[in-house]
């Protein structure tokens, strides 16, 4: 293909995303430097970095930062490992594979708010939830999920919803694996693990890094699950950065501070992304 054509084919997506990025971003940066509370329309003016200072000096800021990272990290590990295991299990044909496949992908079809409601009220509730009923039936004390393990509960909910995403990507990628190569390896006496590490995992390197990168973006901004179940509590145990921004944006209606929080979130996301790219990004262009 000639280089000019390559540029022309790439241009629309790059230009559109550039506009999509610059307009809201520059407005956000502008808002973050002015006094701007929806409920006080008369208060205006440039205030420098005060909004940033307010957001940064919040005692909840560092716990929220840690929670955000723990949340993203745990969900990434769980979904990639589970996703790999499950997509390998369903790689070979078996009776009812189509049905099993749809069942496995289906959690992804549920809206986050609804999934949070189902988990909170119907599964994890220590009084009338299903887990409590199971624990009681087995003679154990039901776990008070949202009180004692708030962040873990949210990690479970999000992992349940996003493992199907990993399955979907891995499942499709496995289809393109060279079957002859695998058969040859089997004939040479290579066991399952040896095949997995020498053939399958290298083949899936790019899809894995893509799953990690995309999920990272979504999980840095988890909101509905927290909002519906714990409201960030107890204390700030399940508060993440997005939730802090939400409080400023939708409860204090302080657009200035919320925008400053948004800028912090972008910086954090970029730091995480740089680390991830160092670790896995080179597989992208392989």
């Amino acid at each position: 293909m000639n280089p000019a054509l390559v540029r022309w084919l790439q241009a629309p997506s790059i230009v559109l995303l550039l506009i999509w990025m610059i307009v809201p971003l520059s407005m956000t940066i502008y808002f973050s430097t002015i006094r701007y509370n929806l409920l006080y329309p008369e208060r205006k003016g440039f205030i420098g970095l005060s909004n940033y200072e307010f957001f940064y000096t919040d005692p909840s800021f560092f716990p929220a930062l840690i929670n955000t990272l723990v949340l993203v990290g745990s969900v990434l590990v769980i979904t990639v490992v589970l996703g790999l295991a499950v997509s390998l299990l369903i790689d070979r044909p078996f009776w009812g594979r189509g049905v099993a496949r749809v069942m496995l992908i289906s959690p992804f079809f549920i809206m986050p708010t609804v999934s949070a409601l189902v988990w909170k009220n119907m599964l994890m509730d220590p009084n009338n939830g299903l887990f409590a009923a199971l624990a009681n039936a087995l003679g154990m004390t039901p776990i008070e999920w949202l009180q004692d393990l708030p962040l873990a509960s949210i990690i479970i909910m999000v992992s349940w919803q996003w493992t199907p995403f990993a399955i979907l990507i891995f499942m499709t990628s496995l289809q393109s694996q060279d079957q002859e190569q695998k058969e040859a390896a089997t004939l040479d006496g290579a066991g399952f693990w040896s095949q997995f590490f020498h053939l399958t995992l290298p083949h899936l390197a790019r899809p894995i890094s893509i799953v990690i990168l995309i999920q990272m973006i979504f999980h840095l901004a988890i909101f509905a699950e927290i909002f519906v179940t714990t409201s960030g509590g107890p204390g700030v145990q399940s508060t993440n950065l997005t939730y802090l921004i939400y409080i400023q944006s939708q409860q204090a209606f302080d657009v200035g501070v919320a925008s400053a929080g948004g800028v912090f979130a972008i910086i954090l996301a970029n730091i995480v992304a740089i680390f991830l790219i160092r670790a896995i990004g080179k597989t992208l262009t392989v």
Partner: protein, 428 residues
């Protein structure tokens, strides 16, 4: 498949040209509470009586509704002709000139609206929102369990007595808990309840100079009492419970007592329910909250006349009678008008009527704390900063309830969070 996609895109572009509501079309934002559902069902009657007006409903969950209408009204978005708002927003928005002041005809009998409700929805003597249904808080308890525990519940109990009764009614092995209270963080969730409790212990949100007063001994006393009470006699997982979760527990017979919105009485299915006023510690002032789900018209709406017509209809005596005719007097929206409580049919149909009226009449939003305070509101302070403060403080209270930190630490953190917001807003 492809052609379907093409059609879809084409359709969306065609529709893009269409603009917002045409004349005679009212867009009303509301929540999904039972009385609002009934209002939607009865709206065709209004439309019949007022040809040319059609009504579109936008129903949202409470948090989303609050963000949507606040964003809309502050940016003059003009998406809604009538908004469902609470007692928190009405005075703030009214003072900013964002709401149309209400002035209804003599038929409407505005003096029939309970004075506490009128006061809470007004700013400087102007009524800015019409109450659709109102509520206070009270004790709802199982008479049978109370009797079985050998206890009695006076009409105006003290917190000490409530704790004794809760102790007597608790049988954890049988899954029976003496008392259920809100624990989920949020200014409208656990803090609505905890504020009334703290009020009765002589606490308040802000001192006269607007500095937060969460570090006071009264708050400490109240929150310690709350945490001990729920940990000893409450159900597991209280820190995630709010109105609906506890309603479920009550209807499953798990709780002996519940202190919450009076509207809950109409949802409780057990036939042994009895009612008493919210408990007091050192004062009854501010011990029970006051709230009204109300309708308001944003100023500058193009459909002011039609909107007013609808509001007048939906909050009138005639509307209450219409609901009574359709569904019986037990199902009418309560807490707004004296005439409802005077109606013998209503008294006969609603066992909770007396307790509810007494609670509402005793609530005074302008005078809700033992010591003088600068703010209006019983279970909240009607200032724009309160939502964010209430939520941050609520999170700390939940942490104390869950036993993660001590009550003292929780209150110190809460004080700091409130102080930060108040400083940012320039109160001092």
């Amino acid at each position: 498949m492809k052609s379907l996609m093409n059609t879809a895109l084409g359709l969306s572009l065609v529709v893009a040209g269409a603009t917002a509501a045409s004349a005679g079309e009212l867009t009303i934002a509301t929540v999904n509470n039972g009385h609002m559902i009934e209002m939607q069902k009865l709206t065709p009657k209004f439309e019949e009586a007022n040809p040319g007006i059609t009504v579109n409903w936008v129903t949202l969950d409470e948090g989303t509704l609050r963000s949507r209408v606040t964003t809309d009204i502050t940016t003059k978005g003009g998406q809604f002709d009538i908004m469902t708002i609470g007692m928190y927003e009405a005075p703030i928005w009214g003072s900013r000139g964002w709401l149309e002041p209400l002035d209804f005809g003599a038929d409407y009998d505005v003096d029939d609206i309970l004075p506490a409700m009128r006061g809470g929805l007004s700013h400087e003597g102007n009524l800015y929102a019409a109450p659709f249904y109102g509520e206070s808080s009270m004790i709802m308890y199982r008479k049978d369990l109370m009797d079985a525990a050998g206890m009695e519940m006076p009409d105006n109990p003290s917190w000490g007595h409530v704790a004794d009764a809760a102790a007597a009614m608790t049988d954890k092995d049988a899954g029976q808990y003496g008392i259920c209270l809100r624990g989920k963080p949020g200014w409208g969730d656990n803090m609505a309840f905890l504020t009334t409790m703290a009020n009765s212990f002589g606490a308040q949100w802000f001192n006269e100079d607007w500095t937060p007063a969460l570090d006071s001994p009264a708050w400490n006393h109240a929150v310690n009492f709350y945490v001990d009470l729920l940990n000893n006699y409450g159900p597991p997982g209280s820190s995630a419970n709010s109105f609906n979760e506890i309603l479920a527990l009550m209807n499953e017979g798990k709780c002996g007592m519940w202190i919450d919105a009076t509207i809950a009485a109409s949802f409780l299915t057990n036939e042994n329910m009895a009612y008493a006023q919210a408990p007091q510690a050192v004062t009854t002032r501010g011990a029970n909250w006051l709230w009204a789900w109300s309708l308001a018209v944003p100023s500058g709406t193009k459909q002011k006349e039609d909107a007013m017509k609808f509001m007048e209809w939906a909050t009138s005596k005639d509307y209450i009678e219409l609901v009574a005719e359709t569904n019986g007097w037990g199902a009418v929206p309560t807490g707004t008008r004296q005439s409802t409580y005077d109606n013998p049919n209503f008294q006969a149909a609603a066992a909770f009527a007396d307790a509810e009226l007494k609670a509402i009449l005793s609530a005074q939003p302008e005078n809700s704390t033992q010591n003088p305070s600068p703010y209006v509101g019983v279970q909240f302070a009607a200032i724009p900063e309160f939502q964010a403060i209430g939520t941050a403080v609520g999170q700390q209270m939940t942490a104390a309830l869950a036993g993660d930190i001590s009550v003292e630490e929780a209150l110190a953190n809460a004080q700091e969070a409130a102080d930060r917001e108040m400083k940012k807003a320039g109160y001092y």
